[in-house]
């Protein structure tokens, strides 16, 4: 990995710089030290991920500054900056598609993985051991044959509460760290669910959920859901990723498209906690649905998103303006960035 070439953007923490990651299906994980302008993969002999592996997800945590986690088609791998290599992490998930990894904001040893077939695995010791969450879910589903996890989120107020979304089954919540689950689908028009935003800023908690058929809102902590019209979406019905800017504002971003691997996509923005939405003018035409939007409380100004067909967009002003990166990286599932000490390897 080379040093950053140019970046007008600087983190508020002057002794830190940005390292970006992109998880690809077919090209392992890409790294960028110049805010996404150029990308490289780790050298091949790094002990872990093979170059053509399918890497579905990424996870970082401020308390694990040396690490980047990735869920792959061969198990969990952890990149350590200090040794500049991917290390295989033994787990019961070898052979599964590890589609999502989430590390608790309040406890960096509390890690949850979501797989295809849909199952949740919970570690309380930083990944040394795992327990199967035993989601009360069918082994088959319509359309995609095999259910899969699309989102794992830790509740912002209750550290033991997990929110897990399953395509195609619905929204599951566990209030005991993944030992028992309840299914929350009352009012959902379709259990093909993709992502959540949980907001506790207003008088009552508001949760937004993106689904195969549009946006849903819950004002009663997930007990029931209401379909929410988003007029600006027009004829695009496929609502994929939803992410709140990592500050106290009510700014939320949401991606929509014609279908998962379709022909076009758009990025929407709300400035009022998801009540109303406007289209963001991205440079050029988006080649398909934007799959992932990454926000980071390390600096709310720097936001990255990617289409599933490898386009990358970047904002350095909190999502007001966006740049398209020149480099296409093939099929991408997640993108992320991490603040690392400038003198780190």
């Amino acid at each position: 990995m080379t040093a950053a070439t140019d970046a007008a953007f600087r983190l508020a923490r002057a002794d830190h710089e940005v390292l970006c990651y992109a998880a690809s299906v077919g090209h392992s994980v890409w790294f960028s030290r110049d805010l996404g302008e150029s990308w490289l993969r780790a050298p091949t002999p790094t002990g872990g991920i093979y170059n053509e592996s399918r890497c579905w997800c990424l996870a970082t945590h401020p308390a694990r500054p040396d690490e980047v986690w990735s869920g792959t088609d061969q198990g969990i791998y952890v990149w350590r900056h200090s040794v500049q290599r991917w290390n295989y992490l033994p787990s019961p998930m070898d052979g599964l598609h590890i589609l999502k990894l989430a590390i608790s904001p309040s406890d960096s040893d509390f890690i949850v993985a979501g797989t295809r077939p849909a199952e949740v695995f919970v570690s309380r010791d930083g990944g040394r051991s795992w327990q199967c969450g035993k989601l009360p879910i069918g082994s088959e589903c319509s359309f995609i044959n095999t259910p899969r996890i699309t989102s794992i989120q830790f509740d912002p107020k209750e550290p033991e509460t997990l929110w897990v979304l399953v395509e195609i089954a619905g929204i599951f919540r566990s209030r005991d760290g993944g030992q028992s689950w309840e299914l929350l689908v009352e009012g959902l028009r379709d259990p093909d669910v993709h992502n959540l935003v949980i907001m506790d800023d207003l008088d009552d908690r508001v949760i937004l959920c993106s689904t195969e058929v549009g946006l849903h809102r819950s004002n009663d902590n997930g007990a029931s859901w209401e379909f929410q019209e988003v007029p600006v979406a027009g004829d695009l019905l496929y609502f994929r990723c939803i992410a709140r800017r990592a500050d106290q504002s009510g700014v939320i971003f949401m991606s929509i498209g014609d279908k998962p691997s379709g022909n076009t996509g758009r990025l929407l923005r709300s400035r009022d906690f998801g009540v109303s939405w406007e289209e963001i003018e991205l440079p050029g035409r988006v080649n398909t649905t934007i799959w992932w939007i990454f926000v980071n409380p390390e600096d709310s100004r720097l936001i990255l998103c990617n289409s599933i067909f490898g386009e990358i967009f970047r904002s350095t002003d909190g999502g007001e303006t966006w740049q398209r990166m020149q480099r296409f990286l093939g099929e991408l599932r997640e993108i992320a960035w991490q603040a690392i000490a400038i003198n780190a390897p």
């Binding site: 019961p92 051991s129 069918g138």
Partner: protein, 210 residues
Amino acid sequence: MSIAFRFYQPHIAQGEHEVVTPDLMLSRLGVALAGDAKPVSIERLTTAVVVPEPAGRCFGAPAVVVVGSSGGALITVGAVHGDLRCLDRDPELALQAGAKVMSRFAWRLSDVATNADRITLKLVEGQAPEGTLTGQWPLTSLAADHPDLRNLLAGKYSLGKGELVFFAADHLLTLEPWRQISLEHPERRPLVHEYRTPDPEAPSTVGRPT
């Protein structure tokens, strides 16, 4: 790290032209030679087409396999291998060894259960591709020997998600190097699994200079 499972990716014909292939996580394997199914490590499960088993130390029996699935239980064919040396003395121990072989083609049990009397388990052994028919069992006769299978066919009993049970026929496989086990129904494409057991006495150069 006590969680073990096997991925099972069956091809299931539905209707005229549709085939679905869910990925099922199987974690609990039972084998019924006679009477109740006994638990066996899921690590023994394979869909391989080459199954090394030491001749003379191993027994095998054709089997009907039922798999629990939320989309509806599946039925397919397979074979139970075990350790011949302790089969008489300790059948449960004998079952812990040896592969439990199954096909990656399956039917929905609900699609065929009402026609169980038209389904036949067949065994062909010998040299590929011909072999000799060495056994056949109407599914109803197997069900007569296995009450749990009978109850599964009648819908009186169901398997949980991730569970599967081999119901073995009362017939030991020969030591022939190739066999074909099939489940046949007059109105459906048969379910077939062929596999070989390589000669364990064949000279090996593994680990030796050639």
